[in-house]
Amino acid sequence: MDGVRDNHRDFLDATLPYLDVVWQVARHAARDGLEPEDLVQETYLRAYAAFGSFRGGNARAWLAAICLNAARSDARRRRRRPLEVTGLPLADVASGVSRDREPDVADMVIASLDAKLVARCMAKLAEPQRVCIVLVDVAGLTAREAAEALGCPRGTVLARLHRGRRRLAGLLTEAGMSHGRA
């Protein structure tokens, strides 16, 4: 019994530092009717149940994969409409801007972006591209970790990522944002 108690403490020690990563993934993977907080809880309960078989690899990628699978299972059960990213408040954009350069026109335009507009444009991306962008650009996984979470080669993640980013930029341009030469 003590083993179980220790096991759950070990599990929380190993996984709670990545709560923010799971949260970012859950917010974008939760379909209508499923609260992101509930998806995070479900992710951790599934991860805890499987902790005995976790071989101590990359916990971030492992949790992200469980979160995506839990969201898929829930969606399958509900049989509702496809993923829609709902309205999201504007976050601190400065954190995403490279620190080694002065902010340029594109950065300033991006800083003024409406998160709801970005979310609407994200929802128009093909799901494989959107998932890669969520894992890497939103949740902060490396391309290698995203590949591990998705069970595909790193090159596939990179290709989807670049195509998705370009498509997202194109959709934002169509929606009225310019990203031409500064």
């Binding site: 599990f11 923010d20 995070v40 976050a91 991006i110 979310a119 994200m122 370009r166 990203h179």
Partner: protein, 240 residues
């Protein structure tokens, strides 16, 4: 994909060595198509980062509680587990017991109540952390009626498919947990009807008394006080 595209992808992925990256930087000055592709990639990446949002402060508490609950349930399963060699000895006796139970279920009216529904167990588990009142229970301080003060943050949890928000309150020298759910808390075995109208019930679980009121929402109060004192305690706590 030609070599040009491969170089572009490698550059965007940060896979080029410093010399190749420098050469590609120079190439960007002359190649409008590559420049636009790099630019669009960067705009897409930064735009996506706008969607980052910090996790709610209470989420860590919620996850911790849910995992502790699951660990506790697993412990109980292990504690109730029967060693394999005894299992076979019990099979024969088990068949007799099942027969008797089926007979009783057929003969006795009414529906069986789950011994301890997951939602009620979750509230009781959460309330275990409450310290017993120091000295005789009093809800007054200095002759005046004590005002309930919330302790910590609310914790939301899903147990048995039921979404529950748990709050801990301090009233005088005692603490109580108030759990609120949109769905009625199932009545556990051993619970009895209680004053409070509707489908109110109360039950004793170890040192804890639990009192449930069902209205527009369902509220379950858990505190280390005698069951008889729970209705008056509940009346003084914010229940929604």
């Amino acid at each position: 994909m030609d070599e040009h595209d491969s170089l572009l992808d490698a550059f965007l992925a940060g896979d080029l060595g410093s010399a190749d990256a420098r050469r590609f930087d120079e190439h960007l000055l002359d190649c409008e198509a590559c420049w636009k592709a790099v630019r669009a990639n960067r705009v897409g990446r930064l735009a996506a980062q706008v969607l980052r949002q910090p996790a709610p402060p209470s989420l860590a508490d919620r996850v911790t509680f849910a995992v502790e609950l699951a660990a506790s349930a697993r412990q109980q399963e292990l504690a109730a587990g029967v060693p394999g060699w005894r299992r076979w000895r019990l099979v024969g006796g088990g068949a007799v017991v099942v027969g008797v139970l089926v007979t009783l279920l057929v003969l006795l009216p009414g529906r069986g109540t789950p011994a301890m529904p997951a939602a009620v167990r979750a509230v009781a588990q959460y309330a275990q952390a409450i310290a017993p009142p120091a000295g005789p229970v009093r809800g007054q301080t200095g002759g005046r009626q004590a005002v309930p003060a919330e302790m910590g943050r609310p914790v939301a949890v899903v147990a048995g498919g039921q979404r529950i928000v748990l709050r801990t309150w301090r009233l005088g020298n005692m603490e109580a947990v108030v759990a609120v759910s949109q769905r009625p808390f199932p009545m556990p075995a051993g619970a009895t009807g209680a004053p409070g109208g509707g489908m109110a019930w109360s039950v004793r679980l170890g040192r804890l008394g639990l009192y449930c009121i069902n209205g527009r929402t369902s509220e379950l109060v858990a505190a280390p006080v005698p069951a008889a004192e729970l209705p008056s305690l509940a009346a003084r706590l914010p229940l929604s």
